[in-house]
């Protein structure tokens, strides 16, 4: 432990919010990935001044600092390396102001995603990004990872819902990037910051766009006797000029796990199930429902179940949103992947995913955002089984490579972090990576803001590279 650094932190943040005990350092040494790092000290600022003080102290000592929200990230983005200072923003959790007329709010980064939606729902609004972790993930984390969720198909991922940011840069200065004013002169530094995974600075206030709740919502479940038929239905719906609010797919193993868990009457013999939600004004919604049902039937949908009331709708969504919990009934551990492929190659890539899992003697379940081609293969396993992690990592790498080879991308909503850092060259040439490194240098010339993430070594601007245990890069 760096005593001088801790003393400096305690000079700017009350010592009861600067933690150095081994248990907490262990807890904050990881996020929701299975990658483990080492935290040197964990602090819990309440104000922008305290964040400034923490950043200045870390930089003065030449120690990295890592902004952390709820720690639900799946790519190791918030995993501290080399005894970094962890700046946890969970206690900065106030909704500061809500403009219900123009539909935006200023919030602190530690506000939980679902708490924000709950707070503004009496005003007929919600925060559109809805990651599966929305009960526990923070808005600051959503900004860092440019998070998605099922309802991002129609409304876009987090970047489309962030109007402005107050940010502490690595020199300790505070800047406001963007804001409710629509066209602030000059470069879109706000847009550049969203998705920067904590490597450009620490967000201390966020101006979020709020979305009107739809007057009408219809949710339906269609089931198919082949994954291909379900995937072709997805493409046909989009090609017909409809963008449903959500368009999700679960494969047979996933449906079986979910049904055993929630007893919603899901068809256990279906090869694939599509959950489709249409939202908007009533006539448009009813017309789209009819067209989607017709498209589904033309592609071989065996049954179509349209939720008759809010309770049934909630039940259908519960199946989707509790899938990860349900999977624990099969095996105790899972590794969740996140790649995006063009919709038209979904059937082919899914076939490859099944084949990869079979070759590595692993079970795979697929539950994913089919509407935007965002795959989430879940490899399920028991980590007590000797050698299983090697197979999980090898299969994961093959899934990522297959997705990119099919014209896809490395991540749709989880980010790159440490998990996929060394796969960046699959998508980007050295010149492309150098441009991203240039963005980083401009925002953080010290290189101490969450270093070693996202950019592989050649583009890392001298970042000391180190891959900790648990990473499969």
């Amino acid at each position: 432990m760096n005593g001088a650094l801790v003393a400096d932190l305690c000079a700017v943040i009350p010592s009861d919010r600067v933690h150095t005990n081994a248990t907490e350092l262990g807890l904050y040494g990881r996020d929701a990935s299975n990658i483990e790092g080492t935290a040197g000290v964990v602090c819990f600022p309440l104000t922008v001044e305290e964040v400034q003080g923490a950043v200045r102290a870390a930089v003065r000592h030449g120690v990295p600092f890592v902004a952390r929200g709820a720690g639900t990230g799946l790519a190791g983005g918030a995993v501290p390396l080399h005894d970094a200072v962890v700046i946890t923003t969970t206690k900065m959790n106030r909704v500061l102001s809500v403009d219900h007329v123009n539909r935006f709010a200023w919030v602190e980064p530690g506000v939980l995603n679902l708490d924000l939606t709950r707070q503004v729902s009496p005003l007929g609004m919600h925060f559109a990004p809805d990651p599966s972790s929305q009960q526990s993930c923070s808005i600051g984390g959503n900004v860092a990872n440019n998070s998605g969720g099922p309802h991002c198909l129609a409304d876009g991922v987090t970047a489309a819902h962030i109007l402005g940011l107050e940010v502490v840069l690595s020199d300790g200065s505070v800047v406001v990037l963007g804001g409710p004013e629509p066209e602030i002169d000059g470069l879109d530094l706000r847009g550049a910051f969203v998705g920067s995974e904590g490597m450009f600075g620490v967000a201390t206030k966020v101006c979020v766009r709020l979305t009107q709740n739809p007057p009408a919502v219809r949710t339906m479940l269609m089931d198919f006797s082949s994954v291909d038929a379900g995937a072709h239905t997805v493409s046909a719906i989009i090609a017909a000029g409809m963008v449903p609010a959500a368009l999700e797919m679960m494969d047979q193993l996933c449906v079986q796990a979910v049904e055993a868990y929630i007893h919603a009457g899901l068809p256990l013999d279906a090869a694939a199930v599509l959950l489709v939600e249409v939202a908007g004004l009533p006539h448009g919604v009813e017309a789209d429902v009819q067209r989607i049902v017709d498209i589904g039937r033309a592609h071989g949908a065996r049954t179509v179940r349209i939720a008759q009331d809010e309770a049934e709708r909630a039940l259908l969504w519960k199946g989707r949103k509790t899938a990860f919990g349900a999977i624990a009934r099969i095996k105790p551990n899972y590794y969740l992947h996140d790649t995006v492929v063009p919709r038209r190659v979904l059937p082919d890539v899914l076939r490859q995913v099944y084949d990869i899992a079979r070759r590595h003697d692993l079970l795979v379940l697929n539950v994913f955002h089919a509407g935007d081609g965002n795959l989430h293969p879940l490899l399920v396993f028991d980590q007590r089984e000797p050698g299983v992690m090697d197979r999980v990592h090898a299969a994961g790498e093959e899934i990522v490579r297959a997705s990119v080879a099919a014209g896809g991308v490395l991540s749709g909503e989880h980010g790159i972090g440490l998990e996929k850092r060394d796969f960046m060259p699959l998508m980007f040439d050295p010149a492309d990576l150098e441009a991203q490194a240039a963005m980083r240098r401009a925002f953080d010339p010290t290189g101490l803001a969450n270093p070693f993430k996202v950019l592989p070594s050649a583009a890392g601007c001298g970042d000391l590279q180190h891959v900790p245990d648990g990473a499969w890069v």
């Binding site: 007329v101 002169d185 470069l187 550049a192 090609a239 000029g241 919709r343 935007d372």
Partner: protein, 286 residues
């Protein structure tokens, strides 16, 4: 994929260089060697809702090409695609269609070093690496010149109707509508663009007391102001305000408030990293 080798060669590796599209958004920097980006739609994938085109493609030609597939793109009409992206200004449909910066999925541009560089990715959803695309939109060519772009398309709605109502304040009409595409206000009247199912349009319009009109009012061209959306009610004189957005088209001139010093130095640092000698569009302040 469009071959950008010739374009990169034109941009070269040293000396001041500027770029021209159709000259509708300010044109090239005067007195500087000028290049043009490739022109033409390379492909349309309607079931992916993505189009690939040269940055020199006229926006109106792109919109016409997409109309064959029942789709369109949320770029302001006129000029070139590269110009619309580089200036980054939306048209009056921003309330419903979103800002221009949300349209660009992937760009291949020629950097100040004369290299072809890719930003973003070829899918509708992508968080692989830093969001360089958003930095390029509105950068006015200062970080490099767009060559080929992949854009998000959107379906052409079943019906579309401009409507109007007398209103001394705009927010009650705005609040009574579900996701209107545009709401404009001149201090006395509100114009609304509704899109979707015809029966929904009729119901929304009658609920808000709106009468169908042929189109939006002409926009004053003295200045384009960016205000806190609540502050549009402070406008006076001859203006059209975009309600819920905060853009005001005013007959009188206006200068935007200066950037905070640290934001300014951050923007300069970004530009310096991308173009250390300041050769791309020299003299343009971003």
């Amino acid at each position: 994929m469009i071959d950008l080798a010739d374009f990169a060669e034109q941009v070269g590796t040293d000396g001041p260089v500027t770029i021209s599209g159709l000259g509708t958004r300010g044109g090239p920097q005067p007195g500087v060697r000028c290049v043009r980006a490739p022109d033409g739609v390379d492909w349309v994938q309607p079931d992916e809702m993505i189009v690939c085109c040269g940055a020199g493609t006229p926006v109106d030609a792109l919109v016409a090409a997409l109309a064959e597939y029942g789709q369109t793109v949320a770029l302001p009409s006129g000029g070139t695609v590269g110009g619309a992206l580089s200036v980054g200004r939306s048209d009056v449909r921003r309330l419903g269609y979103g800002p221009v910066r949300d349209v660009l999925l992937q760009a291949r541009y020629v950097s100040a070093a004369g290299e072809v560089v890719k930003a973003g990715g070829p899918t509708v959803k992508n968080v692989s690496g830093f969001d360089l695309c958003r930095l390029l939109v509105g950068a006015r060519g200062a970080l490099g010149f767009l060559g080929e772009v992949l854009l998000r398309t959107r379906p052409i709605p079943a019906a579309s109707q401009w409507c109007c109502v007398e209103a001394v304040e705009p927010f009650s009409t705005f609040g009574s509508l579900h996701r209107p595409v545009s709401v404009l206000w001149d201090g006395a009247r509100v114009w609304v663009l509704l899109e979707g199912h015809p029966a929904d349009i009729d119901q929304q319009a009658s609920g808000a007391g709106l009468q169908a009109v042929d189109g939006p009012p002409p926009l004053p061209s003295g200045s384009r102001r960016s205000l806190h959306p609540a502050d549009i009610v402070t406008c006076s004189g001859s203006f059209i305000a975009e309600v819920g957005v905060g853009i005001v088209h005013h007959a009188d001139a206006w200068s935007s408030p200066p950037r905070a010093a640290r934001v300014d130095s951050l923007a300069r640092a970004v530009r310096h990293e991308f173009d250390p000698t300041g050769r791309c569009n020299p003299g343009l302040d971003v």
